[in-house]
């Protein structure tokens, strides 16, 4: 496949003269070819890696949102700290924008791109509208293939089922590939509490596990970290050289430490990207081949699959495979697209089909179409708010635009402020490969949460005052007579200490013209209105 000729190859990378050092090539060349001469790798695909030696003391890693039970997450507060860590913010913004640009190039190489998105959306809508039938078909065929199938209504049930299976097989150690579903259910912490040793086999997810952090992105879970953060972490947890920030060195050290654990594990877990009803098989897409290790090395393979992952036919799969990695990482396909159809000889395979709120969401107008999501992360990569604030600032399993609409379905109060962490610019909707109207759902969540009084009381009172003023022209005119007074009542600006909030972060106040348009019109045209 060649790049579209209308795509400029020498285009500036981003907003700054030089990309962040973590993204800068040692040879000054950018890595964007697809001829196979360089491995396009999930974690390290953005740029070839630069000098390994630290030139300056490392900037400490900003941590995510502070959580206080069900109290609303303060995204603004966490985002502010991320932005204050300027090295991190710059790298994060550029790395993800680079993925967005790669995605765009892939899109331009596929003439039928918009048709594919339409098709993918239609298949998902059809599958969701007929979910019980397709799930039953999937279960029947999977069982016929020799797979044991379990159903979990809640995350807790899922965790118990998995623990039960491990106990049945006397398994004490578990290797697993990345799965957002097991993040949702908190499986890792649950099993650790039961004395099971768990090793995440996806490099980024392993980094996050060692750092006791949630994934900050659904595809590239440690993308908010600088190499210096990883060097520091590995030095502490794996005993590596703290001054060596070379990515190859760090990855190889991790591999050497983890490989024996993988080879000796009692059980393996994967998620699934797609479950095919027609065949009773499921598909896992990775770039590191780690799902294949997790599935094939130990004698027991458990796959946790959200019920919304089912698609009708094998013929439908191609539509999604063509869209998934192109949207996610801007590569034509993941390195591995592994089909699991049944246990290997002498082995056992279990599937846990998990609801965890999905059936309830299916009944939520207009939010049910968020179940179309194939977890590609394209909406995060394109989101200008996500790129500046880092995934952990959302304080939730799912971050970025898709997180804004998924998280309130899990906990309305805790995530009641998240739908406001958006400018409603709509870029997320446009990149979504299954055409979820993400920004419209963010808008709809604001209404939903305001109606249930989940919105901070101050905001609501402000809007009430604004609404009253704006429906009474004479009062409104009196209130905005001067620029100074206008600043206090114009609804976009009425955030209490407006001038302070507006200017504090590095933005000047607007100029104050001598008269409003309204006054000018009256002065020059006479008082002919109905005022």
């Amino acid at each position: 496949m060649s790049l579209s000729p209308d795509q400029p190859s020498g285009r500036r990378h981003g907003l700054h003269d030089l990309p962040h050092p973590d993204l800068q090539g040692a040879d000054g060349q950018s890595a964007r070819h697809e001829d196979g001469s360089r491995l396009v790798h999930a974690e390290a695909s953005s740029r070839p890696l630069g000098s390994a030696q630290p030139a300056t003391p490392a900037e400490p890693q900003p941590r995510g949102a502070t959580e206080h039970g069900h109290h609303p997450i303060d995204h603004d507060e966490a985002a502010r700290r991320f932005i204050a860590a300027t090295e991190h913010e710059k790298m994060h913004d550029e790395r993800l924008w680079d993925l967005r640009q790669k995605r765009d190039r892939q899109m331009h190489a596929i003439p039928e791109w918009e048709e594919l998105r339409e098709l993918a959306s239609a298949i998902k809508l059809h599958a969701l509208a007929n979910l019980p039938e397709y799930l039953e078909q999937f279960e029947t065929r999977a069982k016929a293939n020799g797979i044991e199938v379990h159903w979990a209504e809640t995350g807790a049930q899922h965790n118990e089922i998995v623990h039960g299976l491990l106990a049945d097989h006397g398994a004490k150690s578990l290797i697993k590939s990345k799965s957002m579903l097991t993040e949702e259910t908190g499986l890792r912490h649950y099993l650790q509490g039961k004395g099971i040793e768990i090793i995440e086999t996806d490099l980024g997810e392993r980094i996050q596990q060692l750092d006791d952090e949630a994934p900050s992105h659904i595809v590239v879970p440690a993308t908010h970290k600088l190499r210096s953060d990883v060097a520091h972490l590995f030095a502490e947890k794996l005993g590596t050289d703290p001054d060596n920030r070379d990515a190859n060195y760090l990855a190889e050290q991790q591999r050497q430490k983890t490989r024996p654990l993988i080879l000796n594990a009692d059980a393996g877990m994967t998620g699934a990207n797609f479950a095919v009803a027609e065949t009773g098989s499921f598909v896992v897409c990775t770039n590191e081949g780690n799902a294949d290790l997790s599935a094939n090395v130990p004698p027991l393979h458990i796959a946790s699959i959200g019920v919304e992952k089912v698609i009708p036919r094998m013929a439908d799969l191609g539509v999604f495979i063509r869209l998934l990695s192109r949207s996610a990482l801007g590569s034509p396909i993941t390195q591995y697209t592994s089909h699991f159809r049944g246990p290997r000889q002498g082995g056992r395979m279990h599937i846990v089909l998990v609801d965890n709120g999905r059936s309830a969401r299916l009944g939520m107008e207009p939010f049910w179409t968020s179940l179309k999501c194939i977890r590609c992360g394209a909406c995060m990569n394109t989101c200008p708010v996500y790129r500046r604030s880092g995934g952990l600032s959302y304080g939730a399993t799912y971050s970025g635009p898709i997180g804004l609409i998924l998280n309130p379905t899990f906990d309305r109060r805790k995530y009641s402020a998240l739908p406001f962490a958006s400018t409603l610019n709509g870029s997320c909707t446009n990149v979504c490969p299954v055409k979820i109207n993400i920004h419209e759902q963010i808008f709809a969540w604001r209404k939903e949460l305001a109606e249930e009084d989940e919105m901070a009381g101050g905001k609501r009172a402000m809007m009430k005052a604004a609404g009253a003023l704006l429906s009474h022209p004479a009062m409104y005119r009196a209130a905005i007579r001067t620029t100074d007074s206008a600043l206090r009542v114009l609804p976009h600006f009425v955030a209490g200490e407006f001038a302070g909030v507006w200017t504090k972060e590095g933005r000047d106040l607007p100029d104050a013209p001598p008269e409003t348009f309204h006054s000018w019109y009256q002065r020059t045209h006479g008082r002919t209105g109905a005022e």
Partner: protein, 247 residues
């Protein structure tokens, strides 16, 4: 053709010359718009904050104020997006639906309704970086967004290219949001300002002397950011450029 002019609150208070330019520009095409003095707001601030009940009276007032005309012309894509797609809090009477359908953003009105071929009086001998308001671009379809695989077009650039001497320069991230986002600008000030700083640096690095947009709200925010950073950017609404502003 009976045309009414809606001048959004920002323009009324902070950029009155944009309202004046819009009025003068329409008059150049033989249209004498009515400016209903009772107008206030489209209701967007409340609705975008999720407060639909609080927007009902304002939306009803808007519909009443602009009921009696063929077209309502607005020099703001953002406000038009609200009226056309989000003015749903108020009861959808025939009058309300008619007002919503008759509301046009200025660029749309010139490009699609008047089908303007030339602006003989206009000359703007400067390097210009065009800022797409997100509601104008992705909401009401001013042009193709970079995320979609569509034949590229841009109504505002079509119009600006008819202006003598103008040179359009391209940003590295041409349709990246500037971070204004209405109440977002004060509820999430750190992210809003960071996005604004990145946006005005992108304009400056593209070699632009002027930033031109069909939305004053974004430019108010960007101007505040550019001034703070000491960037020598100047900001003009597209109505001013098309009406013959030389600088």
């Amino acid at each position: 053709m009976r045309v009414s002019l809606f001048v959004p609150c920002y323009i009324d208070v902070f950029e009155p010359r944009v309202g004046i330019a819009t009025l003068e520009l329409l008059r150049r095409f033989g249209i004498d718009p009515t400016y209903p003095l009772d107008q206030t707001c489209c209701g967007q601030p409340m609705v975008n904050a999720g407060c639909h009940a609080e927007a009902v009276a304002t939306e009803a007032h808007f519909a009443r104020t602009f009921a009696d005309c063929d077209y309502i012309v607005v020099p703001s894509g953002s406000c038009v997006h609200q009226v056309r797609y989000h003015m749903t809090s108020v009861e959808q009477t025939e009058e309300v639906r008619a007002v919503r359908a008759r509301t046009y953003e200025l660029v749309e009105f010139l490009h699609d309704i008047l089908k303007v071929e030339a602006f003989p009086w206009a000359e703007f001998p400067h390097k210009v970086s065009y800022h797409n308001n997100c509601n104008a671009l992705r909401g009401i379809g001013h042009g193709t967004a970079s995320e979609l695989r569509e034949a590229p077009f841009s109504k505002p650039l079509d119009l600006l290219r008819k202006v003598k001497g103008i040179e359009i320069v391209e940003q590295a991230r041409p349709d990246e949001c500037c971070g204004f986002g209405g109440t977002f600008s004060v509820f999430e000030p750190a992210v809003s300002v960071k996005m604004g700083h990145d946006k005005v640096r992108d304009h400056a690095q593209s070699g632009a002397e002027y930033v031109v947009s069909a939305d004053s709200s974004c430019m108010l925010h960007q101007k505040g950011c550019a001034t703070r950073l000491g960037l020598p950017l100047k900001f003009r609404h597209i109505a001013e450029v098309l009406n013959g502003a030389r600088a």
